[in-house]
């Protein structure tokens, strides 16, 4: 009997190891397969040249700029709103009906599929407000999508600032706002920045919502009212319309590398942040 239970345990643990290995296997398969096919085509020319013949030839320069432009614009909108909301939720109110509604709304925003954000952006920003297919429409839509992540991480970061910091500042005669601006926020900054970096990753990777709001014009966006095509959407077009498989692999490689760098930076920041607060 004893031996049987021992064997059962051994078998179960082997199976659990296998589930973990399969999960990692999926990641390695995706990353290596795409990088192996894509990296050879990534070179300086590919990054800095304009696409020719709808992307069949040439590089992806305008799409890189479009991705950066969109990401930057969405963060310019989402960061102050996200941090402000987090400050309000943590420092200015007790938990009650008001905070419950705000939190519930944040939960909903976090769960809404990106295609619904796209439909909303298309109906409200592009059509109703007549912003057209533009970086601005895309950035506002993206900002709404990033808001839950930024609010949540900023809240966590602000909550983890020891109360003694606030008490010290208040005891010195600083007002509540001065305490928040000069003491709490600087102490919570690494955590807040982590949330923003995670937002960068999400903004660079987003496709559906951006497609319905930015359009997809394959030219260099200059004004914030220009339509554009970020890397994700370019990858979709290249692959779905069969324009150029090597360029699709290369674009996918660049996206994976971007996400990998962003995740690594976020991990390092988080590790240092928890160390700093513990010290």
């Amino acid at each position: 009997m004893r031996r049987i239970t021992k064997y059962t345990q051994g078998l179960a643990f082997v199976l659990l190891w296998v589930t973990a290995l399969i999960t990692i296997g999926f990641l390695l398969l995706i990353v290596f397969f795409i990088l192996k096919e894509g990296l050879p085509s990534v070179n300086w020319e590919f990054l800095t040249a304009y696409p020719r013949r709808m992307g069949r030839e040439g590089g992806i320069f305008p799409t890189i700029i479009a991705s950066l432009y969109l990401t930057l614009a969405s963060l310019v909108i989402a960061t102050p709103i996200g941090i402000g909301a987090a400050i309000y939720l943590t420092e200015y109110t007790r938990e009650g009906a008001g905070t419950k509604i705000i939190r519930f709304a944040t939960e909903i925003l976090a769960g809404v599929p990106s295609i619904i954000f796209g439909l909303f952006g298309f109906a409200f920003l592009v059509t109703f407000l007549k912003l057209g297919f533009s970086i601005l429409s895309g950035a506002i839509t993206l900002a709404l999508m990033l808001l839950p992540t930024i609010i949540r991480t900023a809240e966590e970061a602000i909550k983890s600032v020891p109360n003694s910091y606030r008490e010290g500042s208040l005891a010195l005669g600083a007002t509540k706002w001065v305490t928040i601006a000069k003491v709490v926020i600087p102490a919570a900054l690494p955590g807040i920045v982590t949330g923003i970096i995670l937002g960068v990753g999400r903004a660079i990777g987003e496709t559906a919502a951006v497609w319905l709001t930015v359009g997809g014009a394959l030219r260099l966006p200059i004004s914030i009212m220009d339509s554009a095509r970020p890397m994700t959407l370019h990858l979709y077009t290249l692959a779905a319309e069969g324009l150029s498989l090597p360029r699709a692999y290369a674009t996918a490689s660049i996206l994976i590398i971007c996400i990998w760098i962003i995740n690594t930076v976020a991990n390092l920041l988080m590790a240092r942040f928890s160390l700093k607060l513990r010290a």
């Binding site: 999960t23 995706i30 909301a85 796209g118 109703f128 990777g205 497609w211 996206l255 994976i256």
Partner: protein, 289 residues
Amino acid sequence: MTNQERTNRKERNIRGLLFGIASVAVTGVVLIILFVFKEGWPVLFKYGPVALFTGKVWQPMTADYGMLPLIVGSTYVTLIALVIGVPLGVGCAVFLAEIASETIGKMIRPAINLLAGIPSVVYGFFGLVLLVPFLRMTVGGLGFSLLAGGIILAIMILPTIISVSEDAIRATPREYKEASLALGANHWQTIYKVLIPAARSGIMAAVVLGMGRAIGETMAVIMITGNTPLIPKSLFEPGATLTGTIGQEWAYASGEHAGALFTVGILLFGLIMIINSIALFLFGKKVES
């Protein structure tokens, strides 16, 4: 006005400003609901929800907006994703929470974060260049199929299932485990007779969240399911999902057709709201117990 009064007024203004900022999320949700319903309402009202949601023909050219093929397609890919993703994800979560050493955990968790961060369009592309040809060679047919969509979705929902389940397992009280081990149960018996039942609500929440993610996913599904809005006879056939149909058709849809896509959006939004409410309820249960 004294200095004190001026400071007080400034503090009050800041408070009001922050309240306004915090309300942006609420405004956003209200606007999303308002505009998706405003655009989708006319079609919903004209044909009626019963005819739309049970109609078997989706053919915008002839003003047939039966959404059953899309509902069936979304249900199939989601079920496939769960059948593959849940055992793998929960298994991996148990592994991370109970078996893996700290070093191995530190190696696996960043990998799972990377899996979570890879853009959906890259998953779709991977499915298109590897999984679709693979299915075409092995099971025949086009390769573009609900099965292909479900498999890729399974990988995409793994990070959600793993991280939420792992948290739930780790949140079970230490005493449960200690008591079970003290009674002579071995580690595995403790895991499946004590820890998993105790973490049940949290694991269920993980599954429900994964389900929401699968139903809502668009790009990967568009690229590999074939976008054929017919009720599929088998999983190896192409199909279309709610999200995929919106993504595939919005660019050229106009008039009533465009309205119908927003009606699909209303249906999708309703489903997601129900699913997320269940997940929140399960989270609440977890906290209570």
